[in-house]
Amino acid sequence: MLDAIIVMSGLALFLGGVLGYASIRFHVQGNALVEKIDAILPQTQCAQCGFPGCRPYAEAIAEGRADINQCPPGGEANIHKLADLLGVEFKPLNAEHGEPKPKSVAYIDENTCIGCTLCLQACPVDAISGAPKQMHTIIAQECTGCELCIPPCPVDCIVMVPVESSIANWKWKPPMKEVA
């Protein structure tokens, strides 16, 4: 009996030691972790997560200040990836932060635009080109669809246009008939 207890506690101690060492030895450096989280986030920079961009949100997650389910553009797929990376349970998207939408890009109605440059200042990725008093245009390839330019516009001339599927971005579907 006593032997057994000694053996078991010895084993427990040993394994605890190994685990403890491993967690120190393989601890992911703070910054490296932020990088990894940031690499998963979609970089829409829309601030729907409650932080002023993807990187601040990544930092908040790394420091445990934010949950992993606050990014609507990333959707559930990204939450799964974050859960895997951090070794935590998956949670459904927190609806407070918004719903995922189909990818869209902003479009400026160039006839209405008065060239006030307010949208230009709001765009997180400098995807709007234009100069004061000139009409502005959106560089569609660079627009992330964050919608941050819409509220500042005094004449409401920016609309979001869903990205159309084209031969270039078309994807094969998995077989319809699943194996029974």
């Binding site: 970089q43 400098d126 660079e142 971005n169 998995p174 194996v179």
Partner: protein, 473 residues
Amino acid sequence: MRQLYHFNGGVHPPQHKDQSTIDPIRIPPLPEKLIIPLHQHIGSSAKALVQPGERVLKGQMIGQPEGHVSSAIHAPTSGKILSVGMEPVPHPSGLDALCVILEPDGLEEWIERVPLDPEMDPGTMRTKLKDAGVVGLGGAVFPSFIKLNPGSKNKVRTLILNGAECEPYITCDDLLMRERAFEIAEGAKLMQRLLGAEEVVLGIEDNKPLAIEAMKSAGGMEVVAVPTVYPGGGAKQLIKVLTGVEVPAGERSTDLGVQCFNVATAASVYRAIRLGEPVLSRIVTITGNVAQPGNYEALIGTPVDHLIRQAGALPGSSGAIMGGPMMGIDLPSTHVPVVKAMNCVIVKSEALFPKALDPMPCIRCARCAESCPAELQPQELYWFAKAKNFGKAQEYALFDCIECGCCSYVCPSHIPLVQYYRYAKSEIWAQEREKKASDLARLRHEFRVERMERDKREKAERLAQKSAQAKEL
């Protein structure tokens, strides 16, 4: 006798080639309009050079190559441009692409055709081929001028011409070789010169004795009858059979001293250089559920249903396949145009292509692996693709799969294996595109944050300077 090599696996599907080789190549009447897609090749789309209402001549360039990997598009006949817009094209997505609509005027009025000097400088000749819209007509439609550049450090020993035509039903290359052996042989000479190749070898499957005979009498190359086994006409498989060289996925065969072209491509090189004629037409096999299967020399842009009408559509048709039954794709409709990649249209019917049987679970019988010419483990790839474990699928060489369909053909559980691979590949590509986009966005955002900070700092500095100056005063 040349020593022949052997590749793994392969299958022997029923041929169905006889019905479309009875007649010589037929010339269909001009259709009412031609729908000419501007993107018929690998690489970037050509840029439209014409406006609606404009009159164009036969052979006039209407789409200009953009960027290095691109190719030109020409008016297949003289007539009026009706519009430039989105039209359905032969693509598995069924989506539209930018096309030029041309109304033929029936005059067939040519541009001035200038035969070129076959001894001209290779670099210039390659540019001419790019401008003549010469692309691989075997189905891959890769711009030929790029493949005809051996590079400075490589030595291409063998130029292989591919006349194997291994897929069932397709006979366009067979007829081309029978009837236009001279054009192929002359084109091959030009290509050999461009590549500096020591030898030209033409591989033809031994089920085409007439083509073999015709090509032998044309001369200028070694004609080799290769065993009939699908996919013996795959470029990599033919290279292996004829030279023993295995070209790994992602590597260029020129680096291994071989280059391979379809016979129809050789004929179009001949026409482009010796006759000054760009690629305006191609030979298309129309077969399957039609009264008179056969081969048509169709202008690019001819609506497929125009050709099917010529061959006599039969009742009970249920759509059409572009390409062969092993690797072809469903045409979204028969209103789509003939494109440079279209070697064959098979009109389907319930009798010819019965509905696929319901898939059963994989029993790990490894028949698929035994038949795989790329020597993959299809059952593992299937497993990973189905589980969306794309990283693992890539580890098991998903991108080495040539989508030949042998695995699905033999699978006793009727699993649509290839569809899983196409799906997995396009998901991986999409992920890569997204990753690129988000990396770009991150960079631009970081740049902007930095710029704003710098602006702030500079402003503060200026303020500080100003107040310092104010104090001094």
